[in-house]
């Protein structure tokens, strides 16, 4: 009964049935729905910023600086008289764009490196894991701050800095998954059946190990958005006067005693964003790996 083909067929059968079951259940997954609604609304806000923002986010109006919320400026104005609500809406463009984009390079490069290391093992694996250990010694913020400094301010530097350090997590996750999967009967069967390494990785290992990487990517987006607003707060992020949530908090901190909402509101928006993303992450982990949930 254990001919390679039989094993393969059995395993594929099993996989197909899990997949259809998950797809059927996605709309009954409250945390996924809630997350999609929240994040969808934020993305919509970012995309429609030119239409819905009542004012120009960078236009200074020193006559009307530090207005309290109310009137034409629903959330008041900052020290340069810029409309806080408009900056908040435009800020979504910057923070969400960088947050989503920054995940792409590490997701792809880390997953590929991790998959190769786990699949082939040997000296390649040893070297990769050694590099992973070295990178893990540098705390995320330390590395990002130093790299952004080294590479010079700007969006591209932020992408590169984040990519340079966060591929490590994907490599570790995917490698661990591959180590488990490659021992499964159907992989052994596929190899015995004469499939090439490339096809085995692409057809059988890839789809089975990526779910953990995708789930992690959701929390990684949160991490990246945190890094971007932190850089903004430290004055190392996107150059002013571009509206960005972290730098808005920095601007607001100066007036914390008189205009507390200036530092508070951008923070609340960040909290909502990360809540939405973690809900999507929770929902995805329900969908993609139900057997891991208690």
């Amino acid at each position: 009964m254990s001919t390679p083909t039989a094993l393969l067929l059995r395993a594929q059968e099993k996989r197909r049935s899990t997949r259809t079951r998950s797809l059927k259940a996605w709309y009954r997954n409250p945390s996924l729905i809630a997350g999609l609604i929240v994040v969808g609304a934020l993305v919509l806000m970012a995309v429609l910023a030119p239409v819905i923002a009542p004012f120009d986010p960078v236009k200074q109006d020193l006559q009307n600086s530090l207005l309290a919320p109310g009137g034409a400026h629903w959330l008041g104005t900052d020290k340069y008289g810029r409309d806080v609500l408009s900056r908040l809406i435009w800020g979504a463009q910057v923070d969400l764009r960088i947050g989503f984009m920054a995940v792409l390079i590490p997701f792809v490069s880390g997953s590929v490196i991790g998959a190769l290391a786990g699949y082939f093992g040997g000296w390649f694996d040893s070297i990769v894991m050694q590099i992973v250990d070295i990178f893990f010694a540098f705390p995320f913020y330390v590395m990002v701050i130093v790299l952004v400094f080294v590479l010079g301010a700007g969006e591209v530097s932020i992408y590169l800095a984040i990519s340079a350090i966060s591929w490590v997590a994907y490599a570790k996750i995917v490698r661990g998954e591959v180590l488990v999967v490659k021992k499964q009967d159907y992989i052994v069967a596929a190899r015995l059946g004469g499939m090439s390494h490339g096809r085995v990785i692409a057809r059988h290992i890839g789809p089975n190990v990526m779910s953990q990487a995708i789930i992690y990517a959701m929390s990684d987006i949160v991490l990246d958005i945190m890094a971007i607003v932190t850089l903004g707060y430290l004055g190392l992020g996107v150059a002013p006067p571009t509206a960005e949530w972290g730098s808005m908090i920095l601007d607001g901190q100066e007036f914390i005693t008189t205009q507390w909402q200036q530092a508070t509101i951008p923070g609340l928006v960040i909290v909502v964003t990360s809540l939405g993303l973690s809900w999507i992450g929770d929902g995805l982990s329900d969908l993609l790996s139900p057997e891991r949930r208690k």
Binding site: A137, F138, V142, V146, L151, L234, V272, L275
Partner: protein, 319 residues
């Protein structure tokens, strides 16, 4: 007991390539600067003479591998170079700032424990109950809030409105430090505790349902004695590694938090150096923090071994 710690020399040996790798990364940082590092560091202050002088100071005229080995040689002698801003040895400044950051981290760690253990315990006694839900909301919010923003909010609520703690600074006398570090440590603890709570909650639930807890109950054990002696002792073990891994995160966070509260630790040192383009200081702080994280990793393994008699690192490679 002692023979179980015999893994330490081997563990230290395995850290050697990592440490070397870290020094290489730190060394190469300067060469990531676009163009001539000396020009990049000096920026618009770069006169030809100053550039030449800096090239000499950084040893940039030598081949790369020679530069690295002289860098490593100086490191071994504890020479981290001189600050590019005031020419003082970086090691001096570093060792002034280090105790401040260590105190902050330790304080934050203790506070994170004080928050996490009771909350995880409450959540685990009735999973999916109302209190578990409350704890879950706390962990969700704790993970979703930017650290620096938590700090600012605490300043707003506790310092500005309630006037309980200072808005920032480190205090002058030794006795003041704890008072001044309270809010920054609390900030770090709030952002670190969700991870600890998640791990501890899961392991506490597992421990509460375990046979050995049933055995303890069958011996008439109950209440806090049961929780501390049987449940927590087992539940803490997986959490130790989680904390070890997250201490790195905590160090990263402390850099930002020191900025928020104007605390003269490694983070402030590093950020000041960044804005002053003081590259040797930046390098040294990054190197020091990475070495700290490596040491914490080793300590985590030691504590893990001491807590869990089943683990034997000397005979078994860790996954």
């Amino acid at each position: 007991m002692l023979h179980r710690l015999s893994f330490i020399p081997g563990r230290l040996l395995r850290a050697v390539p990592v440490v070397l790798g870290v020094t290489i990364v730190v060394f190469l940082m300067v060469h990531l600067l676009p163009g001539d590092p000396a020009v990049a560091i000096l920026g618009d202050k770069g006169t030809p003479q100053r550039i030449a002088a800096l090239r000499e100071q950084l040893g940039l005229n030598q081949p790369l591998w020679l530069q690295y080995f002289s860098f490593l040689g100086r490191l071994l002698h504890g020479d981290l170079g001189n600050s590019l801003v005031n020419q003082r040895p970086v090691s001096e400044v570093l060792f002034q700032a280090m105790p401040v950051t260590l105190a902050l981290l330790l304080f934050a760690l203790v506070m994170a424990m004080l928050i996490s253990i009771p909350l995880a315990g409450i959540a685990a006694t009735r999973p999916n109950g109302a209190r578990d839900l409350g704890v879950r909301i706390f962990t969700l919010l704790g993970q979703g809030m930017p650290q620096f923003w938590v700090g600012i909010m605490l300043i707003l609520l506790v310092s500005v409105n309630l006037r309980l703690f200072p808005v920032g600074g480190y205090g002058l006398a030794d006795s003041d430090h704890l008072y001044y570090l309270f809010l920054p440590a609390l900030t770090l603890a709030i952002s670190m505790s969700p991870t600890i709570i998640r791990s501890l909650r899961a392991s506490t639930i597992a421990s509460l349902g375990s046979d050995y807890v049933a055995t303890a109950r069958s011996k008439g054990s109950g209440g806090s004695g049961l929780f501390i002696h049987h449940v927590l002792r087992n539940a803490a073990i997986p959490t130790i590694s989680v904390i070890g891994v997250n201490l790195g995160y905590l160090v990263g966070g402390s850099i930002v938090i020191e900025r928020v509260f104007a605390i003269p630790g490694l983070g402030s040192l590093m950020l000041t150096a960044i804005f002053a383009r003081d590259f040797t200081t930046i390098q040294s702080v990054a190197l020091f923090i990475a070495l700290f994280v490596i040491v914490v990793g080793i300590l985590t393994d030691v504590i893990y071994t001491l807590l869990d008699p089943r683990v034997n690192f000397s005979s078994k490679e860790r996954a």
